[in-house]
């Protein structure tokens, strides 16, 4: 998903790479069952890209930095590489009786690469730092559910909200309390049913004392507690990791050294894999995806897997563009899109047509929530549009950010709509992602626009609440439905995960009636590797599972 810069602005980490965990194979693309094979030791090279920010877990929301962060930090929770199922990593236990007061016990005996212990304080200090407004950490909003978050934020306006009277009132979150060296408590401001699931996200990593002494130096050479440690970061060229001999966890890697070679585009990385100059690329360029060329280029050395990503097309808020207000018009447009053919011809089958708003890889997924409205049926679409009184505007527009590979599918989608409904449809490119997002955020963009969501943590809640709840941070279409909000609040209060999921599914079903956005497809990640390595597996987050990669 790297090419598709996520719509969800800062939200959503593109990164969560799971280290460790060595279960099952995630292939659907023809890799052999070399899962357990390979020797220990040696070094590999993998495709990398330039991290946007210094390598601090709470300030990394994109894959380039995220892939590195996830290899060098362990969290309380570890997500299973294949199923994304959360399991305890650093956490001894996470207990709650009311979904609001949590007691977290940390395992003893774990240390950072510099030899200092990982204690309850390492977590509490790190989370406070992330939340504190003046620190401007891009993942700070993950601390939002914790009590006292509002007081740690700057309230001023303009370029520097922290100036003068806008300065944050509190430096720490009132909801975090250290009980003893290895125990701390978390109190949330509202009930949260899936807090433990969230704690595997990199923003919740612990940080050593050294970080707080000099955050800037730490960002260039982070000290982590994960299976690997950072040896060198040669800007624009490579990031070198080596095995952390102080790591005692269950999810260690096999190879001794991992080098992220930084590439500007996926074509050159792919060619290097073909020439055995690079061991793994986590992105196959479009030119090799055509006609499954990569499968003949890299026989038995490729894999494909569904990941927690969904692409949608969102309608501008009604007050911005009233032409799309009628849900019937929205449903008609959705039914006019031939998802399967676009997927086959434009994406070469590297997507999966969406049947709802929640990715199939998460707990709580229910198929066919969108029903017939996400099934291509030009005749019914046309009838539905006529029933709604036809399209009033001049033409349908579908905007996209032109700096990533969205032109082809938006054009194909528009052609499909045009042919089925007989209404002109134009795909409009906006110069880059930043401009595109600011037009959406300022509510200036009319018509339809592309949106995407990569899960932060594997939960159905993550696909609903941040996007469709009234006033939510990524609610680009200003969707508001009291019944939907009520179901989400009830679900968050459920202590039984199954009951909570059921409520979330009921909420999702409401979306089909209102159609705030059109589900397009779920993401898949395709990887290829050289003939030197074995055991390459893709995690549910679309990253390389470093616990199983080994040299042949």
């Amino acid at each position: 998903m790297r090419g598709t810069t996520r719509t969800v602005a800062v939200a959503a980490m593109s990164a969560v790479a799971l280290l460790a965990a060595g279960c099952g194979s995630g292939d659907s693309g023809g890799s052999t069952s070399s899962a357990a094979g390979g020797q220990t030791g040696g070094e590999i090279t993998v495709r990398g890209c330039n991290p946007q920010n210094p390598l601090v877990p709470s300030n990394t929301t994109e894959t380039c930095g995220g892939n590195v962060i996830d290899a060098i930090f362990s969290k309380l929770i570890h997500y299973d590489a294949e199923t994304a199922k959360p399991e305890n990593d650093l956490a001894e236990s996470i207990e709650t009786t009311d979904n609001q007061n949590f007691t977290i016990k940390v395992k003893k005996g774990n240390t950072f690469a510099d030899g200092t212990d990982v204690t309850a304080k390492s977590f509490v200090d790190a989370w406070n730092y992330a939340a504190y407004g003046p620190n401007a950490q891009s993942s700070g909003y993950f601390m939002e559910p914790i009590e006292g978050f509002g007081d740690t934020q700057c309230t001023g306006e303009g370029d520097d909200p922290c100036a003068g009277a806008g300065m944050a009132k509190a430096k720490t979150l009132t909801g975090l309390k250290v009980v003893d060296d290895y125990t701390f408590t978390v109190k949330t401001s509202e009930k949260v049913s899936n807090l433990p699931v969230r704690l595997g996200y990199s923003a919740f990593s612990p940080l050593p004392e050294a970080f707080f002494k000099d955050p800037k130096a730490f960002g260039d050479k982070p000290i982590g507690n994960g299976p690997y440690k950072l040896d060198a970061w040669n800007k624009e060229q490579s990031i070198v990791l080596s095995k952390n001999d102080k790591y005692k966890g269950d999810f260690g890697g096999k190879v001794d050294k991992i080098t992220f070679k930084i590439y500007q585009d996926s074509d050159s990385a792919y060619n290097d894999v073909l020439a055995n100059n690079l061991d793994i690329t986590d992105e196959i360029p479009a030119s090799a995806l055509i006609d499954d060329k990569y499968k003949s280029d890299l026989p038995d050395r490729n894999a494909q897997k569904e990941t927690g990503v969904i692409q949608t097309v969102t309608f501008a808020p009604t007050k911005v563009d009233p032409n799309y207000a009628n849900p019937k018009i929205r449903q008609a447009i959705s039914m006019a899109i031939d998802r399967d053919t676009i997927n086959k011809q434009i994406f070469n089958g590297t997507r999966k047509s969406a049947t709802g708003w929640v990715s199939p890889v998460v707990d709580g997924y229910k198929a066919d929530q969108c029903g017939e409205y996400c099934t291509y049926d030009p005749a019914k679409a046309k009838a539905l549009l006529t029933e709604a009184g036809g399209f009033k505007g001049d033409k349908i527009t579908l905007s996209y950010n032109a700096d990533a590979a969205h032109k082809e599918w938006t054009e194909a989608t528009c052609n499909s709509i045009k042919q089925a409904l007989g209404v002109d449809c134009v795909a409009v490119g906006v110069v880059d992602f930043a401009t595109f997002r600011s037009q959406i955020a300022d509510r200036k963009m009319k018509g339809m626009f592309r949106t995407g969501w990569q899960m932060d943590y594997p939960s159905i809640e993550n696909f609903l609440a941040p996007i469709f709840k009234t006033g939510a941070s990524s609610n680009d279409g200003d969707y508001s439905n009291p019944a939907f909000d009520k179901l989400l609040t009830e679900a968050a209060a459920e202590t039984d995960p199954a009951a909570a999921n059921k409520k979330y599914q009921e909420a999702e079903a409401l979306l089909a009636q209102d159609m705030p956005s059109i589900p397009m497809w779920y993401g898949k990640t395709t990887m290829g590797w050289s003939d030197k390595v074995t055991g390459v597996k893709i995690t549910a987050f679309g990253t390389i599972d470093f616990s199983s990669v080994a040299l042949k």
């Binding site: 055509i290 434009i346 194909a412």
Partner: protein
């Protein structure tokens, strides 16, 4: 002596291939036309250009298929599978798009040539005729624009102009960029031919008779100095067509919904290893169009250059 000179005249004409035509005086253009029509290169290139111009003005003469009609199911179909040239990645008919793509290229080439000839020609004449400080100023101004690399300058120019969906405006944007950066070469050429023609006796005579500078330039200098510029402008027309394709290929020239060979080449590049026909046909049309104008330019040069006779 006078008598002798008169009697010598018929002898002189008899050296020509066709003494019958010797009667009326021959103009420069007439001479050139005679030379050109005997040149097969001229006829080949003219026919090609005529076909491309017809394509640009009446694309429906060549195809009845709508170039924006996408049949996605048949995406990347090979030539012969229902269509002459196959289909591209969006399922558009490549043949229809090649035909419709001619318009953008011909328009850009033609407008840019007209623009550079008008701007460069005028500035060249003024600089060459006026001389002195005016010449120095205009020549240095030309040098400044000449120093900007065409592609780099055009990218900056096009990116800084607002985006639009109006076809004519998109074309004019590209034309504007190429004219702004392309005029100095023609201005230099024009200036040097004007300087060459200016000291001639007939110019001095016209001046002695009291003709205004405008009249001197229009009636005496321009007709005798314009030939090299016509040659270079014709050859440049081909070069501008390929410059347009380059800019469109980079995604900053013409943009969808405009149809252009450059755009089609750019979107076909992903299929280079698997379905190269998507790349081949627009490239072929582009090459042929550029070749046609360069060949015409060569034929015109051969005809206008007296040294070749």
């Amino acid at each position: 002596m006078t008598e002798a000179a008169v009697t010598e005249a018929p002898e002189a004409t008899s050296r020509g291939e066709n003494p019958v035509d010797a009667g009326p005086p021959r103009s420069l253009a007439g001479d050139a036309w005679r030379a050109m029509r005997r040149n097969p290169l001229f006829w080949i290139s003219s026919v090609m250009i005529l076909v491309f111009v017809l394509m640009a003005t009446f694309p429906s003469l060549f195809t009845s298929t709508d170039p924006t009609e996408a049949i996605l199911q048949e995406s990347r179909a090979l030539p012969g599978q229902g269509t002459w040239f196959g289909r591209d990645i969006q399922g558009y008919d490549i043949y229809a798009r090649c035909i419709y793509g001619a318009r953008a290229s011909i328009l850009v080439g033609l407008f840019t040539t007209i623009g550079t000839v008008a701007v460069g020609g005028t500035i060249g004449i003024i600089a060459g005729y006026a001389g002195g400080i005016v010449d120095t100023l205009l020549s240095r101004l030309g040098d400044i624009f000449f120093a900007i690399p065409l592609l780099l300058g055009a990218i900056i120019f096009l990116v800084s102009l607002p985006a639009t969906n109006n076809y004519l405006f998109i074309v004019l944007k590209v034309v504007g960029a190429l004219v702004v950066l392309g005029w100095p070469s023609l201005a230099r050429l024009m200036r040097s031919s004007v300087i060459q023609v200016k000291p001639n006796d007939y110019v001095q005579a016209a001046r002695a008779l009291g003709a205004s500078p405008f009249r001197i330039v229009r009636a005496h200098i321009l007709p005798n100095a314009v030939a090299p510029m016509i040659v270079v402008a014709t050859i440049n027309l081909g070069a501008y067509i390929s410059a347009e394709a380059t800019l469109s290929f980079l995604g900053i020239g013409l943009q969808s919904p405009a149809i252009s060979w450059g755009i089609d080449i750019s979107r076909a590049i992903v299929g280079l290893r698997t379905t190269p026909h998507m790349l081949f046909f627009p490239s072929l049309f582009l090459s042929l169009a550029v070749l046609a104008f360069i060949m015409l330019g060569d034929a015109v040069r051969d005809a206008l250059d007296p040294k070749n006779r």
